[in-house]
């Protein structure tokens, strides 16, 4: 590196900055006139020092992302106008800079990484070129020097075989590798400020742990100031030096991470921390004598891709899966992406056809019967999906969505509506909700509607496929509580699919851990968490962020 620094217009290795890197003072950003509140962020002040990680914590709508993007100058000022305050980067106010001056600072002095590395990288450009672009914009380095530096930063973020990987496209890499590429890109010019906007939220838990370690390690070595945006107090406990808690566009509390985590002062902070589900499973009574509602024997799903002139590849999405769910019981299926947990759920509902094995539902084998014969069983298994924004038809009223199923199975309109009104109360909504449209509800309310829609079919089995993963943590706790209550009230067998070990600990009687299509461990929740047998289960529990801090919530 030292040898070619003479060829550079400006050396890349700078002496690390010291003191305050980012100083946000009294920042207010105005929302457009028709919004539901006047300011996106109001009178926000905080600092980020060199070599420090400041976590900005808040739920959706707290203004944490707007703050970050205002600092970066990524929001068009005509849409979201900063009306008061300053955002000083190394003493210079970013809000007074022209677009051209900001462009120069972006990438060179401040860089940003985003939540979803798959969509944040250009799919049609080689990852090496995308990192190299950073150098191309801001330096006079020639092609060879750029390549050298790209390989260097890729090695710095622990990417394997960087010389080969520079020629890959984003879709050829894993999620963790993609986020490493993003980090390498952000760090290529050694910025003094790194803004990380939920950088691990879309990643699997073991990958998340690695990326958090990497960010900590790199920022320590280079003395970068990091503004780390997250909604997850587990992550805060893992990496934060200081914490800024935001709610409705205002800072409600800030301080040293240890202090805030051990003695939160503001009620909102307390509520947020109390909403984080505990990794300690509560005591649950065994239901091993209850009637079996759902059982699979040797369930498998194999995908065959290619063929006809191409190479043939077979993928075992699920293999030899045995599971039993009894009435009134919740079985948690836990695993990372690609573990086959959703495949199992979809086979059971017969949204996809299993390749082998048996599915027993209320004494009938339904794995191989045709769609016509399957129809009467459809109502017995209902599913609640991850994203309530997309699983309700936006052009139909809530009522129309809820009564459609029962009416398909012969219930009269009046009865169906009456049942829907009752169910609205069961899920904690007013019966008037039936006349409104999905967009008039918040995410949590929509998920309640989805649960009511499933219950309207009077199912025996309820499958919750990452049903709380897209929700804010405070809402998540309420929806979990609701799911647990309806399971109890309606004596449902529940299959709870999640990647989140904290959530699983709170609602599941038994846990099944899946990895690459196979079940690696199964047992009573308390037993699995206390004495994990399989190395993979141990790795998962190890990786759960903030496992050393006890958070409040027990559902």
């Amino acid at each position: 590196m030292a040898s070619d620094s003479t060829t550079l217009a400006r050396p890349i290795r700078r002496t690390p900055a010291t003191g305050t890197v980012l100083d946000v003072r009294g920042l207010s950003v105005e929302l457009p006139a028709n919004a539901d509140r006047k300011y996106a962020v109001e009178d926000v002040s905080f600092t980020v020092d060199a070599g420090e990680i400041v976590c900005v914590v808040g739920e959706s709508g707290s203004g944490k992302s707007v703050t970050a993007q205002t600092v970066m100058g990524l929001i068009p000022r005509r849409d979201l106008k900063p009306v008061a305050g300053q955002a000083r980067l190394l003493g210079e106010d970013l809000l007074t800079k022209s677009e051209a001056q900001l462009r120069k600072l972006r990438g060179e002095r401040m860089a940003m990484i985003f939540q979803e590395p798959m969509t944040a990288l250009n799919p049609v450009m080689k990852v090496g070129d995308q990192i190299s672009e950073m150098l191309e914009i801001h330096t006079d380095m020639d092609k060879a020097a750029r390549l050298k530096r790209v390989v260097e930063v890729m090695r710095d973020v622990n990417l394997p075989e960087p010389e080969r990987l520079v020629h890959s496209y984003p879709h050829q890499l894993s999620g963790g590798q993609r986020q490493r590429i993003m980090i390498a890109m952000a760090l290529a010019l050694e910025p003094v400020l790194l803004i990380a906007d939920e950088p691990t939220t879309a990643l699997d838990v073991t990958t998340q742990a690695q990326i958090l370690d990497l960010i900590k390690d790199i920022q320590r070595r280079h003395g970068t100031g990091v503004m780390f945006i997250t909604h997850d107090f587990g992550v805060v406990a893992e990496i934060a030096d200081r914490v800024v808690v935001m709610q409705h566009g205002k800072v409600v509390e800030q301080g040293q991470a240890k202090m805030v985590l051990s003695h939160p002062e503001h009620p909102y902070t307390k509520m947020l921390m109390a909403s984080v589900p505990s990794l300690e499973p509560p005591q649950r009574t065994s239901l091993s004598h209850a009637e079996i509602a759902l059982q699979t024997i040797g369930l498998a799903k194999t995908y065959v891709a290619g063929g006809w002139l191409g190479r043939k590849r077979t993928v075992k999405a699920a293999d030899a899966v045995q599971l039993v769910v009894r009435r009134g019981e919740t079985l948690g299926v836990v695993g990372e992406s690609g573990s086959g947990k959703s495949t199992v759920a979809r086979c059971i509902v017969r949204l996809i056809d299993p390749s082998a094995g048996e599915i027993w539902l209320a004494g009938h084998q339904i794995a191989e019967i045709n769609q016509g014969a399957l129809r009467p069983f459809r109502r017995d298994v209902q599913i609640v999906f991850q994203d309530p924004y997309r699983s309700l038809n936006p052009r139909r009223t809530v009522g129309a969505s809820v009564i459609e199923g029962p009416m398909n199975f012969g219930l009269g309109r009046a009865e169906a509506v009456a049942r829907a009104r009752d169910l609205m109360q069961v899920v904690g909504l007013s019966p008037d909700a039936l006349d409104r449209f999905p967009h008039q509800f918040s995410g949590g309310q929509r998920q309640r509607i989805c649960i009511a829609r499933a219950l309207a079919m009077e199912p025996k089995v309820l499958i919750a496929d990452e049903a709380v993963s897209a929700l804010d943590v405070s809402v998540q706790a309420q929806v979990l509580e609701l799911l647990d209550r309806v399971r109890n009230e309606f004596d449902l067998a529940m299959l709870f699919i999640t990647h989140d070990l904290r959530v699983a600990a709170q609602v599941c009687d038994r846990i099944m851990v899946m990895k690459q299509g196979e079940v690696v461990e199964e047992g009573a929740t308390a037993e699995v968490y206390a004495h994990p047998q399989h190395p993979y289960t141990r790795a998962l529990l190890e990786a759960a962020p903030g496992r050393h801090v006890t958070f409040g919530a027990q559902a």
């Binding site: 462009r103 972006r106 990438g107 860089a111 450009m125 914009i137 002139l309």
Partner: protein, 314 residues
Amino acid sequence: MLGYIARRVLSTIPVMGVVALFVFLMLRLSPGDPAAVIAGDYATAEDIARIRERLGLDEPIVVQFFQWLGNLLQGDLGISIFTNLPVTTLIAQRLEPTIMLTLTTLTFTILVAVPLGTLAAWKAGSLIDRAVMIFAVAGFSIPVFVLGYMLIYQFSIEWRWLPVQGYKSIFEDGVGPFFRHITLPTLTLSVIYIALIARITRASVLEILQEDYVRTARAKGQSETKVLLRHALRNAAVPIVTVIGLGVALLIGGVVVTESVYNIPGLGRLVLDAVLKRDYPIIQGLILLFSFVYILINLMIDLLYTVFDPRIRY
């Protein structure tokens, strides 16, 4: 990658086969005696018999098909009923003007429409955007023959800048005369095509500009121009290329009218004449040719996808 290309190329064969079958059946399945249909209203019994014999319509239909297919594979498209010349010769004579008109139109269209659509997307909601969109609606609504005569009136008759009609070969008559004659037909034919492609370009660039990686590019400090060219346009290319390809079908229809308006001796005129005279062998030959070109272009588009989008390669 090679497997993908091989698959795409091989899959055109059954498609061509189906097209050939339809073209063959077109005449045989039409109601009544095909020979009488071809001969027209004023034919004598001898005329009909002569045509029937020439087309081999006395044989069983399966024999006819294989004879016809065998000839086809040897490049024999049959003999024109009215001119007694081989259809291949007739097509070859008319090929150049049509190919040239198509090429100039395609080039002009892409050069105008893609930048126009990109500009409109970048400045979405602005006056420029609205102007482009108004042009797109107007361009799409105006019939080719109306536009053709309007252009002739203005450029050729009022201003006397360009010839009214006719075609000059770039190979025999030189570049200058060629462009003087091809300019108005190209303009005429391009307008609808520009309207279509500018619209699609705008829509697809606009969508791409919302993507996260465009934000990433801006976060790197990349300039707006490069964000547009390097990140947005290349990602928007797949839908744009698709529409350019599909639009070729539109172009074939437009060529027929445009060549008539400007009196260009191309395939479009041949189509028109053949249809008016019910010269079935020529019609069949032309349908086969156009289908073949269309399939070829779609094949090229499929292969172009792989250039623009690496995800399709693997």
